[in-house]
Symmetry: C2
Subunit: 369 residues, 2 copies
């Protein structure tokens, strides 16, 4: 069984799909592992460590045998196709909504695509929840990006030259990324406010030392995901949030609705009311944006307020993001190996729902952070 | 009395010498305050706030009356000369060692230069200690720069995808900047080690939750500054520090010796022993460097270790750095105004030692962080 790991590095990708420790696990499971040279460099894993873990370093995976299992962390590229053996498998954050056509075409040709995004978020599959692991990294990195952009201190400081008040941080959307953002901002000594339409998040916010913004909330659906809100509720939320936004030095927005445009939480008038020098990190910039005027991977200045829409946040903590993703993937792959043979079982309660091509089961509800 | 504040903004300077709150104090003391347009923009203080505080906004200070007191935060420039009235005063972080010739020439022409660096570090002058206030900012900003460059988490995280160990931070030099760096790294959840040649710093390190690296220490001189160490002590320190360096994910070096080349604490062999992906911030890069191979305002990659030598750290927290500096300056200027007249008294125990040109008193011992 040939397992391949590509060098996915680009200006916005420093992660590797499996660090050396995960390669060891793959080898134990019976895989021959090939890694493209330099694949882990930006994440702090040099080629030698992959070799020590039992991998073969190659310049390009196309040079060796066809790959039975290609593991990726960033979405698939056209060039992956030629590497994969007939009836081979590609597994990773394949972004099935954006890559439906590509994956369907490959599926028609016999290649199975397994989406880490579609692994059910159940207790059984917790260790394979790559959306959560990468959202943990992204929430942490968002706060650090915001804090380094801000020209004020986070903590209160009592100095001989006067007392510096703590900064005021507002987190909108309290999922995995939002919770990590709250925890990180609290660590740094900020006064942290947070809001989510799901009322049960209030307790979570408060347990991390944050203060819940009192604004209308809305229950989630049966799958545990926040539903899109109607226009009226959205208007009420905006009014209630306006003051919290105006008071904030740093805002992190994390609200995304699976398969849909992200909700608009902050409009231009709310941005105008902010203090010059304030910073907004819109983590939903690539899916339409929670903030009016945000642009993916660009800093937009509006009356002195810096609106940022970074799409590479998890990659900024590449070492640990890669470690967690590698763990997520190895746990899933363990379910796909039976007596030294790779078996992709559509009936498996974890693997089955994650198969996005070829389509052999009824479509599952989408599940994204 | 005309007081002028320049727009000092450049790619590496976002601070302003006095924020609006300090301008109010100057006005109360009897000054007419002129501020160059946009002077506070990058620090989050728009022109309107200066106007509200009683200042006049001008395109260029050369357009108005000659300036009796020019307040700066970055070193003086040639163009300042023409703005200053005969017998006028320039006051700020004038970097007297680097600008001795310039300031002497101006002094011969009757212009008094007051160096915030030379304000005695006594209890009486604590509120005027700009080296401390800016070192506080620099130590904080150094950790944040290091943390955002590092591809690992600072805190330990227990996640479904495994436990992430905390990062290991080493602070070399425990002055004001070093103490703030320790406090900031501890806040973020790192395991923090620190070292200084002054043995009494051990208690300070430990009170902040850091661990003191057991290596040879050396007492300070009567002025409270660390003396340069001899070659033998330096070699012993290096040996003792080698292990701490090799174990660190992030190192911040802050060791500077007044008026001299910074001590070399980390040589190339020690850098080679570090893990790829590790980060070193050399806060002494512009005075010779604590780290072999560091370059001012450049990131040097040595075997995967990122060595950075930022010289604009205090500027990265421009809002609060400007507030603290403004407070430092207003406290000093209060001592220089008697019944609505500016009086620079060489006999004043705080002002006197800070006068660096014209030279009217015996040279003082230099004092830099």
């Amino acid at each position: 069984m040939q397992l391949g790991i590509r060098n996915e590095q680009s200006s916005r990708e420093s992660r590797v799909a499996a660090p050396p420790v995960s390669v060891s696990t793959f080898v134990e499971l019976g895989f021959d592992v090939s890694v493209e040279t330099g694949a882990g460099d930006a994440a702090g894993f040099p080629d030698e460590e992959f070799v020590d873990a039992g991998a073969t370093i190659v310049n390009d995976l196309s040079q060796g045998d066809a790959i039975d299992l290609l593991v990726r962390i960033s979405p698939p590229t056209e060039s992956d196709r030629s590497l994969i053996a007939p009836n081979g498998v590609i597994l990773g954050l394949v972004d099935p909504a954006a890559n439906e056509e590509l994956l369907t075409t490959w599926g028609d040709a016999g290649i199975t695509s397994i989406s880490m995004e579609m692994v059910p978020r159940t207790t059984l599959a917790q260790a394979m929840d790559a959306l959560s692991s990468q959202a943990t990294s992204a929430g942490y990195a968002a706060v650090l990006l915001g804090v380094t952009t801000l020209t004020k201190f986070m903590p209160m400081l009592v100095t001989a030259a006067g007392t510096i008040p703590p900064s005021n941080v507002l987190i909108l959307g309290v999922g995995v990324a939002g919770l990590q953002a709250i925890a990180t901002a609290k660590r740094l000594g900020a006064v942290v406010y947070a809001y989510d339409i799901r009322p049960e998040t209030k307790e979570q916010v408060e347990s991390l030392g944050g203060r819940f913004v009192e604004a209308p909330t809305q229950t989630m659906d049966e799958g545990g995901y926040a539903r899109a809100v109607d226009a009226e509720t959205e208007a009420e939320q905006k009014a209630a949030l306006a003051k919290a936004v105006a008071d904030a030095d740093l805002i992190i927005t994390t609200a995304q609705v699976p398969g849909r445009k992200a909700p608009r939480l902050i409009d231009a008038a709310m941005v105008e009311a902010m203090k010059p020098g304030s910073v907004i990190i819109d983590m939903a910039a690539s899916s339409g944006g929670n903030v009016e005027g945000s642009q993916p991977d660009t800093t937009v200045d509006v009356s002195g307020v810096h609106i940022m829409g970074p799409t590479d946040l998890a990659s900024r903590v590449a070492t640990d993001s890669s470690r967690m993703f590698g763990r997520n993937v190895t746990e899933l792959v363990k379910r796909m190996v039976v007596e030294g043979e790779m078996v992709v079982d559509p009936e498996d309660p974890v693997v089955g729902p994650a198969i996005v091509a070829p389509i052999t089961t009824p479509p599952q509800s989408e599940a994204t952070e």
